[in-house]
């Protein structure tokens, strides 16, 4: 087992990893930027090293600074949390070269999963359903028409080099295609100096459903059920739950089996998440693999009874999956997570500042993951997550009742938070009926939810 672990992150996830290390009796090293010197992860780690100024490119994203901190404190492993360096294969390679175990998948796997077309190809080979689309770049309008005919309208044209919505067009019928394709090409040319487009089937109002995977270093993998993450605004998840109301026990069993095979086949290791879109017919389409622990991992922990961060460390230390997961995987009850962000709940404008008053909810079925405290500051330099509020109940309605109660008793003064928005979601009829998709928030009338 590791003797000492450096946590290359901040905020609640740094504290989360410290908790897992304490539970395993492993010493911890926190790193922090000058903006975070009064943070709880600094207080509760056994050692703490300042690695740079507030700007994350010069601190939490600065590989030499993090590795040097690891070297001067003699750690034998690094946990990257989520965000920052967590899916940076180069960082994982530097760790390896420095003789420090990176707690995550091996660099080639992370790199392949980062290359989306490569990930799609590997998943398709492994028998996982993929969102239908063109085989790479569209070579001509004729090929585009044929492909669209094959996968069925509506379709989406996307710039290969693109992002941020530019060079994208929704096409609903054959007659529109040539014209819209030409527009998208010239827009892509202007924006990215390349007119290359590819095509994907458009799912107008998909659910976002993801499966939690654990894989050891000996070719064993286990799926711990799925999470429903459809409540998003601008592709940022706001409320997650497990299980999904749209996944039947049969579908869960089939998908778990296929994904376990696929993850073994691609040599996946440690914790990971396989993301899917679900269309109106309940069919799932693979979109990507997140090769790290996710923000919303606690809902899977609640229903599986398995500490995922502890499992990450055990797997990295060479433990076998059978010591961690009992087969068959049993899931109990229902869990919900609300992300309490420092944001204006109406405009979503960030609301950093000093927390002048704080009451954390507690009691039965409530878990709070936070690095916030009375008189503590949410700095403007990083993400706006203040706390994750998780409730667990024997069924969805008990989890919802507990979440409503916990939100009512969660008091944060001095900054705006998303608490009122969550209270509104938890009273919404569609939410209560489990009718969810990624358009949920914009339908609910949250103006800025629209991408």
């Amino acid at each position: 087992m590791f003797h000492k672990i450096l946590i290359a992150n901040r905020g609640e996830i740094a504290l989360r990893v410290i908790c897992a290390c304490k539970d395993l009796g492993i010493r911890t090293v926190a790193v922090y930027s000058e903006a975070d010197r009064h943070s709880l992860h600094v207080r509760f780690a056994d050692e703490a090293i300042c690695i740079g100024p507030a700007k994350s490119s010069r601190s939490y994203l600065d590989i030499p600074a993090v590795i040097s901190a690891a070297e001067i404190t003699n750690v034998d492993a690094i946990h990257p949390g989520y965000g920052f360096l967590s899916e940076n294969a180069g960082f994982a390679e530097v760790c390896e070269a420095s003789g420090i175990k990176f707690i995550g998948p091996p660099p080639p796997v992370t790199r392949n999963m980062g290359l989306k077309q490569r990930a799609r190809a590997e998943m398709r080979e492994a028998g996982v359903p993929i969102l239908p689309g063109s085989e790479g770049i569209l070579q001509s309008p004729e090929e585009a028409l044929d492909t669209a005919e094959r996968i069925g309208y509506p379709i989406m044209l996307k710039a290969s080099a693109g992002g941020g919505g530019r060079g994208m067009r929704i096409v609903r019928e054959t007659s529109e295609l040539p014209n819209l394709m030409a527009q998208a090409q010239s827009e892509a040319q202007a924006a990215f100096s390349s007119p290359d487009l590819y095509m994907e089937k458009l799912i107008e109002a998909p659910r976002h459903i993801e499966f939690q995977v654990l894989a050891d270093e000996y070719g064993n993998a286990a799926v711990l059920g799925e999470r429903e993450c459809s409540i998003q605004r601008r592709h940022q998840k706001l409320l997650e739950e497990a299980p999904s109301t749209a996944v039947s026990p049969d579908l869960r069993r089939i998908m778990s089996q296929r994904l376990e095979e696929a993850m073994i086949r691609i040599g996946y290791r440690n914790a990971g998440t396989v993301e899917f879109l679900m269309d109106e017919n309940g069919d799932l389409y693979f979109i990507e693999v997140n090769a790290r622990i996710q923000v919303e991992h606690p809902v899977s922990e609640a229903i599986s009874g398995i500490d995922l961060v502890k499992s990450q460390i055990l797997i990295a230390a060479g433990h076998r999956l059978e010591e961690i997961v009992r087969r068959p995987v049993e899931l109990n009850g229902h869990a919900i997570e609300c992300r309490i962000n420092a944001e204006n709940p109406d405009t979503f404008a960030p609301s950093p500042g000093r927390i002048t008053g704080l009451n954390l909810p507690g009691g039965i079925g409530v878990r709070v993951d936070t690095a916030a405290y009375t008189d503590g500051v949410i700095p403007p330099y990083y993400d706006s997550l203040v706390a994750k509020l998780i409730t667990h109940g024997k069924d969805r309605s008990e989890a919802i009742a507990r979440m409503r109660r916990a939100l009512d008793m969660f008091v944060v003064e001095g900054i705006y938070t998303t608490i009122p928005l969550h209270q509104q979601i938890l009273r919404n009829e569609d939410f209560l009926a489990g009718r969810l998709d990624t358009k949920f928030l914009s339908r609910m009338g949250v103006a800025s939810a629209r991408a």
Binding site: Y32, V42, C50, S68
Partner: protein, 150 residues
């Protein structure tokens, strides 16, 4: 910061009616509160608090230095790593107290990821104190030298 200066600040807090005042002058910092807000003590990290990056007014004596005159500026570590005062084991240090330095003069080495990073003087002046022990790990922003500008 002298006791008299601190007294004046306390007076100011009282006169203004505010509840808290925090003042940083170089390496010195004072926080004055007119009441009991003990919660803040919760979060003072146990690791030595590194100094602010922008040196301004002179600092109080550091454990290994002699007293610093009030017109010196601090050279701080721009990176995390291990501090070495000489180019190789057994060789004389890059600088001694009393040496005069020009901009670009190498003051020490910080080893970081097996690389030896030479830290150079940015101003001309006299080295008035060496604040770090040879071979010690340094954090970002830790003070290494005090130099009196010429």
């Amino acid at each position: 910061m002298s006791n008299d200066e601190i007294k004046q600040l306390i007076q100011l807090v009282k006169e203004s009616g505010i509840s808290e005042l925090e003042v940083q002058r170089g390496e010195n910092r004072v926080r004055i509160r007119s009441g009991a807000l003990a919660q803040a003590d919760l979060v003072i990290p146990h690791a030595p608090a590194p100094a602010q990056p922008a040196p301004s007014v002179p600092a109080a004596p550091s454990p290994v230095s002699s007293a610093q005159p009030s017109d010196a500026v601090l050279v701080k570590s721009p990176i995390v790593g291990t501090y070495y005062e000489c180019p190789s084991p057994g060789s004389p240090p890059f600088v001694k107290v009393g040496d005069t330095v020009e901009p670009g003069h190498v003051l020490c080495i910080i080893e970081s990821m097996k690389l030896m990073n030479e830290i150079e003087a940015e101003i001309a002046g006299t080295v008035v104190s060496k604040l770090m022990e040879n071979g010690r790990p340094v954090e970002y922003g830790e003070a290494l030298f005090a130099i009196r500008p010429r």
